[in-house]
């Protein structure tokens, strides 16, 4: 019985790793450890290698003893076009829980090494009419199933994957910005100049799944953190949110999780009246919103402190 979970059949083969990583990693991700790294351990039993020990001596030990770090989990450009097999990622954003703490945005900026003006995840104050009550609305890329941005890309630099994610390959993007024009949700940003945090990401191997290092003259946007998803981990905005606003999950297995709790997606939609933005456009977003009813926090209009920012609506 115990073998069921654990029969690793571990190989160093990268493809196997990716599959296994998802399988095992997702079992117990929120526990103390992501098991995915298990799979990265080599299994050539009996092979002796030399290591430097803590007391400064070189000793020969069984290679199994050595514990490896996570390898990078983002797939290379070509593989990143396929998507994670069998998955269909969806996000649910519970508007009743958002209080504009902006932790999601901070985490997103930090983990993607974004410079100040390229913000992938924005939190808007929604107040459509005087007679309505204002609320906060986080808005990542909606990863539409019929993405207008992908339709217009002349070079397939932005593409829709089978697992629902829309990515940008900044090694191919020609910088025409047509996708920015086509996106009805204005989620895309452009690297107008040499990206600021190049030193931070120096030496990093670019993958469309990582989204960095950014390149001058190319478009970028929220990517649902596919490198995290490959490890069975939740995207950074989901884990960073102190109020559990964001849920991420696989539509095919009808479950979404905000880190603290995991719920059935269909039940959540039914109980809370989930909806998508601008359904009338026919873009079929992968991001669902739960209306701001029974709010966790009273709406407090914070002055958006970010330098030079101001709101008009």
């Amino acid at each position: 019985m115990e073998e069921e979970l654990n029969k690793p059949g571990i190989k160093t083969n990268r493809k196997d790793f990716l599959k296994k990583g998802l399988f095992a990693g997702s079992v117990l991700a929120t526990g103390a450890v992501g098991i995915s790294s298990l799979t990265s351990c080599s299994n050539n039993s009996g092979k002796k290698i030399k290591v430097l020990t803590a007391d400064g001596k070189l000793v020969e030990v069984d290679s199994n003893v050595i514990i490896e770090a996570h390898p990078c989990c983002a797939a290379p450009a070509k593989e990143s076009r396929k998507g994670i097999p069998g998955k269909k990622f969806v996000m649910v954003i519970d508007l009743s829980r958002c209080k504009h703490a902006l932790k999601c945005q901070d985490a997103c900026q930090r983990y993607h090494h974004l410079s100040g003006m390229n913000v992938w995840l924005k939190v808007f104050k929604m107040h459509d009419a005087e007679t309505m009550a204002p609320y906060w609305m986080p808005k990542p890329c909606l990863h539409c199933d019929k993405p207008p941005c992908v339709k217009v890309c002349p070079v397939s630099a932005t593409y829709k994957r089978d697992d629902g994610i829309v990515l940008v390959d900044n090694d191919r993007c020609i910088g025409c910005r047509f996708c920015m024009a086509a996106c009805p949700y204005s989620t895309r940003s452009f690297n107008w100049e040499e990206p600021q945090y190049l030193s931070e990401t120096k030496g990093a191997v670019y993958s469309p799944e990582l989204g960095f290092p950014q390149k001058k003259g190319t478009v970028e946007k929220c990517d649902f953190c596919p490198d995290m998803l490959r490890q069975g981990k939740l995207p950074h905005c989901v884990t960073a949110c102190p109020n559990g606003v964001f849920y991420m999950g696989d539509l095919n297995e009808d479950s979404v999780s905000n880190g603290a709790e995991t719920v059935r997606f269909s039940q959540l939609m039914k109980d809370k009246g989930g909806y998508r933005l601008n359904e009338i456009l026919g873009t079929e977003p992968s991001v669902y919103y739960l209306p701001p009813v029974n709010r966790l926090f009273p709406f407090k209009d914070v002055e958006i402190t970010k330098e030079n920012t101001e709101e008009t609506k």
């Binding site: 979970l5 103390a32 983990y111 981990k233």
Partner: protein
């Protein structure tokens, strides 16, 4: 040796980096041998040597997970800054993991130094203990993990210990075809056998992509036989072969850490499949709608065919010019 970088997981390793790494380990080791207690309590500034002056201190949080016998130890590093807890991810020195005591690796029983890792960008280092190693240490029923970090240019040396008693969870099933009930049993090693542990909050979980879905009664405690039961939802999509993984989970227990044990069962409905996208306007270039491909090819062929004909006229004009 195998590279053990966990600094920024997506970064290529640098040679210079590794050298610093070695040197710091050597220095750290010397320090450790001379005065074992220095790093024991990094927060106690009175015991700091001169080399530790002006460095920052951090909190190291250790947690243990046993999942169907597979062990791992996670280190999370954070510190207080202006009364706020912030992640520390810029510790340059590696974190060393020892089992039972701080010493060199003992191949006979698997104790001593068993690995080292650098922090990742999220301020974590996860020691995943290989399967073979678990077999080697199967005779142990209490594990003391010691994590040490020393000789970092920015941070004070630190050491943290966690002791985990051996426990495991197994799952049994009962019920008809339409209603299935799962029971998780928590047992722990005592004296010479695994005996049931009562009064622990045991969660019944179903594995999902990111996390687990709970079923059964929320907050249920184990009874005197160490058991918790719950009815399985029968309409839940599972893996493509119709199976789902069900497990019991004891979370962050003082004695046992986090313990999980489970099994794969064939009682899930099949997951929805992604529809075949086919030729759409948002597919890749070679998957364009046929109407579009054919019509554009025809139009281009006609127009450019005519253009080539016109160019041939130019050639004919030139030939006419040459003939008398």
């Amino acid at each position: 040796m195998k590279a053990m970088k966990n600094d920024l997981p997506y970064h290529k390793s640098g040679i210079g980096y590794r050298r610093i790494f070695f040197i710091s380990i050597v220095i750290g080791a010397l320090l450790l041998i001379n005065n074992f207690t220095i790093a024991q309590d990094a927060k106690d500034s009175s015991s700091l040597s001169a080399g530790q002056m002006g460095k920052l201190s951090f909190t190291m949080n250790l947690s243990s997970l046993v999942s169907n016998g597979a062990r791992s130890v996670k280190v999370q590093v954070s510190r207080k800054e202006n009364k706020k807890t912030v992640i520390v991810n810029d510790v340059r020195s590696p974190f060393n993991l020892y089992l039972n005591e701080v010493k060199a690796y003992d191949a006979s029983d698997g104790t001593g130094w068993i690995g080292k890792l650098n922090l990742n960008y999220e301020g974590e280092a996860v020691f995943v203990i290989p399967d073979d190693f678990n077999k080697l240490t199967a005779g142990l029923h209490e594990y003391t993990f010691i994590v040490k970090m020393d000789s970092d240019p920015k941070y004070e040396d630190a050491e943290e210990t966690i002791t985990i008693a051996d426990a495991k969870i197994s799952i049994v099933f009962s019920g008809e075809d339409s209603v299935k009930s799962a029971t998780a049993i928590l047992t722990a090693w005592k004296d010479s056998a695994y005996i049931p542990v009562p009064e622990k909050e045991l969660k019944l979980c179903i594995k999902r992509t990111f996390n687990f879905l709970l079923f059964g009664e929320a907050g249920a405690l184990t009874d005197s036989t160490g058991q918790v039961s719950g009815d399985l939802p029968m309409d839940l999509p599972g893996n493509t072969d119709g199976t789902i993984i069900i497990f019991g989970r004891l979370e962050d227990d003082e004695t046992y850490g986090t313990v999980e044990g489970g099994i794969s069962v064939p009682w899930a409905i099949l997951p929805k499949k992604n529809p075949v996208t086919g030729r759409t306007l948002w597919s890749s270039g070679d998957n364009a709608p046929l109407v579009l491909v054919i019509s554009s090819v025809v139009i281009i062929a006609i127009i450019w065919g005519t253009i080539f004909y016109l160019v041939s006229l130019l050639i004919r004009i030139k030939r006419l010019g040459k003939s008398p």
